[in-house]
């Protein structure tokens, strides 16, 4: 465990210096605080990406409510159903029976038969030893026309094994292996991404090479989704999707490429060369000529990116920057590249450091040992806003408060905004779908924009950034006619 005695405030369990940090279990486990920032996507949001797919959860009241309300808030209540066994049914060994009967009942009641169903048993199914294979076999037998995705909402396992998100994404990709058809060397599929990939180097390379890129966000129906399996190469950049991508691609006999959000120039270049190699391999072309073109393009990108850093420095100056892992999937690497370009990162928010960031961590430990690393979920973080305000002064989070110039903090990400109280924040998740040189420039642009224009900090309590919400529909636009609100 890291030594937390030398933290800025001393004795807190939520902040350590980067010199004391290690990858993996970065902070000790303890009671957890759940902050009111909910813009990152959860399994409900992710599951909704597949058209004509219905989600069914089998759980007790408390957890069930969370997932249903997630769907209701994104105006997708019609695409989620639930089964709620009672106390006696759980305790008396009837959970398997109720799960099977409940799922069948829900499917029969739906106005239209879904093409696919994501089924989510929960922690208690594991704990009381339900025969999950039996459950899935039974429902598959009853509804052979439906693709069942064997998902789970079992956070009780997430600390010690794969997370529900990882397994759900595998299931979402696994169906592509079933009806994939012949391999198409002119197509690449991007899988396991919540946001549409944009402003990214590898997209540019694929386009230059004449490759058609397919994304789930473009699919209008389930058949179009299944057609993504035809692509000769399956790509993801999400760490949560790597597990699923590699397993599903192996099952389908497709090439796969994991392109995590690279931040150092060498890493970015390496990823692009790997991609180009696979493209040339599939098309039977010699990579030499393509590599030469790529090197030229890389040099241009480097120059553009250095220029963007110069401009950002002019605008941001020494403004303290706090960056979170919701906005930047590689928060340590991102902090590293900002610091190496003389931008004043003072704190990183991350509940743990991925082993993928070990090299960046080592670089920061050597060059910026006093940089702070904060956990958003440690119990002490409940009072972190007050502590931060006391330390940096003035930058409170009252709605509409624009903050004083002397106390201006630039928050990169919604959690960074919440914990600093700063209205000057980049309101983005998952790097806003961007990566590579173009991704760095996109983020620098968002940072400069955020520095100029304050936002209402309380918008971060909304769920699933970027998704449609019922709030935009004027409190439920579907309710019309003879309905009145009393207030």
């Amino acid at each position: 465990m890291p030594d937390t005695r030398n933290t800025p405030e001393g004795g807190q369990n939520n902040i350590i210096r980067i010199r004391d940090a290690k990858a993996g279990r970065t902070f000790p486990w303890g009671l957890e605080y759940n902050c009111p920032v909910h813009e990152h996507w959860n399994i409900v949001h992710t599951g909704m990406l597949i058209p004509e797919c219905h989600q069914i959860y089998i759980c007790t009241d408390n957890c069930l409510r969370g997932v249903i309300m997630t769907a209701v808030e994104m105006d997708a209540a019609a695409r989620i159903s639930s089964v709620m066994p009672d106390e006696a049914e759980i305790f008396n060994g009837r959970l398997e029976e109720i799960t099977i009967r409940g799922v069948s009942d829900v499917i029969r009641k739906l106005p239209k038969r879904p093409r696919a169903v994501q089924l989510f048993p929960v922690c208690m199914h594991h704990f009381i030893g339900c025969d999950m294979r039996y459950i899935f076999d039974q429902v598959e037998r009853e509804f052979p026309e439906i693709d069942f995705m064997e998902c789970f909402m079992d956070p009780i396992r997430q600390k010690l094994t794969t997370t529900p998100e990882q397994r759900q994404r595998y299931q979402m990709m696994k169906v592509l292996a079933g009806e994939k058809g012949p391999e198409d060397p002119s197509k690449v599929s991007i899988l396991g991404e919540n946001l549409r990939v944009r402003d990214s180097d590898f997209m540019e390379i694929l386009q230059r090479e004449g490759i058609r890129v397919m994304q789930v966000q473009d699919c209008r129906n389930y058949d179009e989704y299944l057609a993504m399996g035809q692509a000769f190469l399956w790509i993801t950049k999400s760490p949560l999707s790597k597990y699923g991508l590699e397993k599903a691609a192996a099952l389908a006999g497709r090439r796969s490429l994991y392109l995590p959000a690279a931040v150092t120039y060498e890493e970015i270049d390496g990823q692009l060369r790997d991609l180009l190699h696979l493209i040339c391999e599939a098309s039977g072309r010699s990579p030499a000529e393509a590599a030469e073109k790529l090197d030229t393009w890389i040099q241009e990108q480097r120059a553009l990116t250095e220029n963007a850093f110069r401009k950002a420095r002019e605008i941001l100056g020494d403004t303290p920057i706090v960056a979170d892992y919701i906005c930047e999937p590689r928060p340590v690497g991102f902090a590293r590249i900002l610091l190496e370009h003389h931008l004043n990162v003072v704190r990183i928010l991350a509940d743990q450091i991925s082993p993928e960031e070990s090299e960046d961590l080592e670089a920061l430990r050597n060059s910026y040992p006093d940089l702070e690393l904060m956990s958003s979920s440690a119990s002490d973080s409940l009072y972190e806003r007050e502590r931060f305000a006391a330390r940096y002064g003035g930058c409170r989070s009252e709605a509409g408060n624009s903050g004083g110039a002397e106390s201006k903090i630039l928050a990169v990400g919604p959690k960074a905004s919440f914990f600093t109280g700063s209205p000057y924040f980049v309101n983005a998740i998952e790097a806003d779908g961007a990566t590579g040189y173009m991704g760095i420039r996109h983020m620098l642009h968002l940072m400069c924009e955020a520095f100029r224009e304050p936002k209402n900090p309380e918008i971060v309590t909304g769920k699933g950034l970027g998704l449609p919400g019922v709030w935009e529909a004027d409190g439920g636009g579907h309710m019309i006619g003879r309905a009145v609100f009393l207030a």
């Binding site: 007790t60 408390n62 808030e73 309590t461 309905a483």
Partner: protein
């Protein structure tokens, strides 16, 4: 099948009820759960979380500790977290989701250990995530009363009450010192899950004052005096139960301290039966009983109230009294054989039962949360008056939460029923 919900959300669960009920008492509430309960609670069932946080934590239970029964870690984590709080919590309350219930965690014993080791009063609120918020909140308040009021001897309690009232009056943070003849009332069952509109407490206070009552204790919204004045509740003349969640503490105060209670939401109406009965201190008077002795011959379709049942019964009473229309009050929360809510006609649990029932009354007027629109066979045929509740539709319709205690609310409801 009553367990299935095709489209309707479930009502808030017991853990949310517990956390919400104890929110403003200065304690520390720990939910023994892997992850989801806390997020569900603070996202959908709690409006105070962003601006006025409370010491509510989750244990982050993992499979290994659940299987091996590693209660030691749970205890140690709570004690460690307590050290990090800026001030000593007034109590430690424990509650849980299904897995710790399934593995038979002895929470009473854990609470005892925590109390011994920390010197902080600790208690367990029985829960397992399988029940609704009303039960959770009711049990939480009952436990709070048992812990901070019930164990004290009467003489000591009298002294403490006197002292706490004086201190509160001096500091201006408590209820007013006794100086008038107003009937003193314990308000029970007041929480955002049922009464989320801003200003509800102030409006209630005003409504009661205008009618000759004074709030002595409020469980548990907006009571600035908090835990310090809790023992004062034993000196109230009567308890006012505003919601199903308030019934358990009301029964406790009745059984132990002989304080009668009246169930109902008082409305700004000159003939309001709740206010009348509160003045008469008629114990457990059945709201709507009088009106129901005669069968209504009104030819119009009925008005169905599908809301929190105490609220529904109160609104139905108003409609019957002022319009003569037939009313049907449905309790959508789980049945509890110990709890009887006056004025309620039937309990309907789950989506299927509710859908089948509503289909029998296609021409009825419906007073309900907007979520019920999703299960009406033909919503446009039905006049719906929406009363969004945090406990069902969450924060989605927060702009439309109703302050039931403000002036003119009765006329607005009646107007809505006759318009269009």
């Amino acid at each position: 099948m009553r367990e299935t919900y095709r489209v309707l959300p479930v009502w808030a669960g017991d853990v949310s009820g517990i956390a919400g009920a104890l929110y403003e008492f200065g304690g520390m509430t720990v939910i023994h759960d892997p992850s989801g309960c806390s997020s569900t609670y603070n996202t959908h069932d709690e409006l105070r979380w962003y601006r006025e946080p409370s010491n509510i934590f989750i244990s982050g239970l993992n499979m290994k500790d659940a299987v091996l029964g590693n209660d030691e870690r749970f205890i140690r984590d709570i004690l460690d977290a307590r050290e990090g709080l800026p001030s000593r919590p007034q109590f430690i309350a424990l509650c849980n989701s299904p897995v710790p219930w399934l593995n038979g965690t002895d929470f009473e014993a854990i609470a005892g250990i925590l109390e011994r080791k920390s010197g902080i009063p600790s208690f367990y609120v029985p829960s397992n995530g399988c029940h609704d918020y009303a039960r959770g909140a009711g049990l939480a308040w009952q436990k709070l009363l048992q812990k901070f009021v019930g164990n004290r001897k009467t003489a000591a309690l009298e002294d403490e009450n006197r002292e706490s009232t004086e201190q509160a009056a001096e500091k201006g943070g408590g209820r007013e010192a006794e100086s008038d003849d107003a009937v003193s009332v314990n308000v029970l069952g007041m929480m955002p899950l049922d009464f989320a509109a801003e200003g509800s407490v102030l409006s209630l206070e005003g409504l009661l004052q205008r009618n000759g009552f004074r709030i002595r204790t409020c469980l548990a919204l907006g009571d600035a005096a908090g835990l310090r004045c809790l023992p004062d509740c034993t000196r109230a003349d009567v308890s006012l139960v505003l919601s199903k969640a308030g019934l358990l503490p009301a029964m406790y105060l009745r059984d132990r301290y002989h304080i009668p209670f009246v169930t109902g939401v008082p409305l700004d109406d000159e003939d309001d039966p709740v206010l009348k009965r509160l003045g008469g201190m008629r114990p457990e008077s059945a709201l709507g009983e009088t009106e129901r002795t005669e069968v209504s011959r009104d030819p119009r379709p009925p008005v169905i109230f599908l809301t929190e049942p105490v609220l529904g019964a109160s609104l139905a009473s108003l409609v019957r009294r002022r319009t003569g229309r037939k009313t049907i009050v449905i309790d959508p929360l789980e049945a509890d054989p110990l709890i009887r809510i006056p004025g309620v006609d039937a309990g309907l649990f789950g989506e299927e039962e509710t859908e089948t029932f509503l289909a029998q009354f296609p021409d009825a007027d419906l007073v309900c949360d907007p979520m019920y629109d999703t299960i009406l066979p033909d919503p446009e045929r039905t006049r719906r008056i929406f009363l969004p509740t945090l406990a069902l539709s969450g924060r989605i319709y927060r702009e439309h939460f109703v302050n039931y205690f403000e002036r003119g609310i009765s006329d607005r409801l009646l107007g809505a029923l006759t318009s269009g």
